[in-house]
Subunit: 309 residues, 2 copies
């Protein structure tokens, strides 16, 4: 193989009650990346479109991943990458994760696939560390595994794939405002009442069971976050309006995607997803903040190969 | 029907990471209860064996449940009950719950089964309130539904049945010491670090997924409780020895049953369950505390009818 083109999906982390544990991959939104084998050794990023990101491989999420993989698995060739960002960094949809996971997947193909999905996740976490300063796993694992993923444990890293009910759809709105990672971390409570923690874990347990059994009512009842959402939602303009419109239009639930500002809603079926999309769009049109919207199936296969030769 | 004899199972609540949320029913341990239709209206308890409990219906967990049901659904007959306790109150195996759940199930049969399992759970919670002072749902719902149950929510009450992997076995040791409910409540932290809560809910999510997929490795990895067990285990003599022996002998995990002092271990298959049983028994034989031991399948059907005429 001399050339590879892939699609690496956007992802929603912190799915409601699954803060820091549960992520999902979006089907219709993501990055396109190309990889070209070169005689010259090393990693070069030759083009990035759609976002202003460092071309220097060491400073780039995707570049850092590729370098780490080639260090672990030395070869007598090099790799040139291009990245075409399909959504913005800072959206809360795992922009750096898509690049990092894409790089891990793509480079692995050129090496003859020596690394498992779990190992690719670990490499991709190096990219998260480069871009965000912390090696979180939920976005990158969702991109690599596809579907819903549970980060059960970091030490050792344990990623569990959770089934995706067939009619599940995601609608997301990305208000064009900046939420600083530091702010979204600073508002988190250091301690939580045991009673609240129990409510949260009972809901997460219900959500996991509902996903396994395609029980949309249970999924809907369980999609609540009484710990992080109340602390963070004031950072996101008109969060309550969006959530309330989504629920009124029939969404199963809604919450903050990652650290925001994107707000996601989960819906059963295309008709309701369309209604939820329209309701959120209408509500936000009257607000003087630009926004992007997405509507998609859940991506169940993870990163996709678009072209290889 | 004039006469009914039932078996109401012992139950394990607070299954490791599922504190206050996840319970399971034990197959081989429980109470036998009889119900006889009488011309005289009202509820009478005529005999209790195996434990020293009030015969006055209003003060008895089973009696209080039966009275509440007959008040809600008046009939022109009365019910006489006998209770034969197969395990001790204060064991942490849901003794009052077995009586309360058994009464709810039994009386419902005489009324022509007007009440759903969820409604029976609510009635049985009245018995828990009578016996323990708080209307907890995890033991009574496990007895009524059988298998694993998740108490996802109290307001409204939402009980979710979780599948039972076929080879799962439970081993339990009941050291003959008293753990006062007040003490076991008092040692609970009021607040927990968010980081610990996340670890706990990620494990509970893993456990639920493992139960749905019969993934014993995942069940084993997830069966940890970093919040309640560390706070409570010093109330239970030689907890660490028992747990360590259970794990060394191949148990998937072990923890405190309910508020203790019973310690339970979950095992894959009869051979390992036998080994775990023997290891725990050996370890405890050298300690000058009497104990009972149990080894059982998981009860998947809940309360069983033994005889009716």
């Amino acid at each position: 193989m001399k050339y590879l083109k892939i699609f690496s999906p956007a992802t929603v982390a912190n799915v409601s009650c699954g803060f820091d544990s549960l992520g999902l991959a979006i089907d219709s939104v993501g990055d396109e990346m190309t990889f070209t084998k070169t005689e010259e050794k090393g990693v070069r990023i030759t083009e990035i479109t759609g976002a202003n990101l460092p071309l220097n491989a060491k400073e780039n999420a995707a570049g850092a991943v590729a370098l780490a993989m080639l260090e672990k698995h030395p070869v007598d060739f090099g790799i040139e990458m291009t990245m075409h960002k399909g959504f913005s960094p800072g959206s809360g949809l795992g922009s750096s994760a898509a690049s990092a996971a894409g790089a891990a997947f793509g480079v692995n193909q050129f090496l003859g696939n020596p690394f498992s999905q779990l190992e690719l996740t670990k490499f991709a976490m190096i990219g998260e560390e480069t871009a965000c300063g912390s090696a979180i796993a939920d976005n990158v694992s969702a991109a690599i595994y596809g579907g819903f993923v549970l980060v059960r444990s970091y030490e050792p890293l344990d990623i569990i794939k959770i089934p995706v009910p067939t009619e599940l759809r995601v609608v997301a709105i990305h208000p064009q405002v900046e939420v600083k990672t530091k702010d979204s971390r600073d508002v988190l409570p250091k301690e939580v009442p045991l009673k609240s923690a129990i409510t949260q874990w009972a809901n997460l347990a219900g959500l996991i069971s509902g996903l396994h059994t395609e029980n949309y009512e249970l999924i809907s009842n369980s999609l609540t976050d009484i710990i992080v959402e109340p602390a963070r939602k004031h950072l996101i303009p008109h969060f309550d309006v969006v959530k309330s419109e989504a629920l009124k239009a029939g969404a199963l639930g809604a919450g903050i995607s990652g650290a925001g500002p994107t707000i996601f809603a989960l819906c059963k079926g295309d008709t309701i997803a369309n209604d939820v999309f329209a309701s959120i769009e209408n509500a936000y049109k009257n607000i003087k903040i630009d926004f992007n919207m997405h509507r998609s199936k859940i991506n169940t296969e993870g990163i996709k190969i678009l072209e290889e030769r």
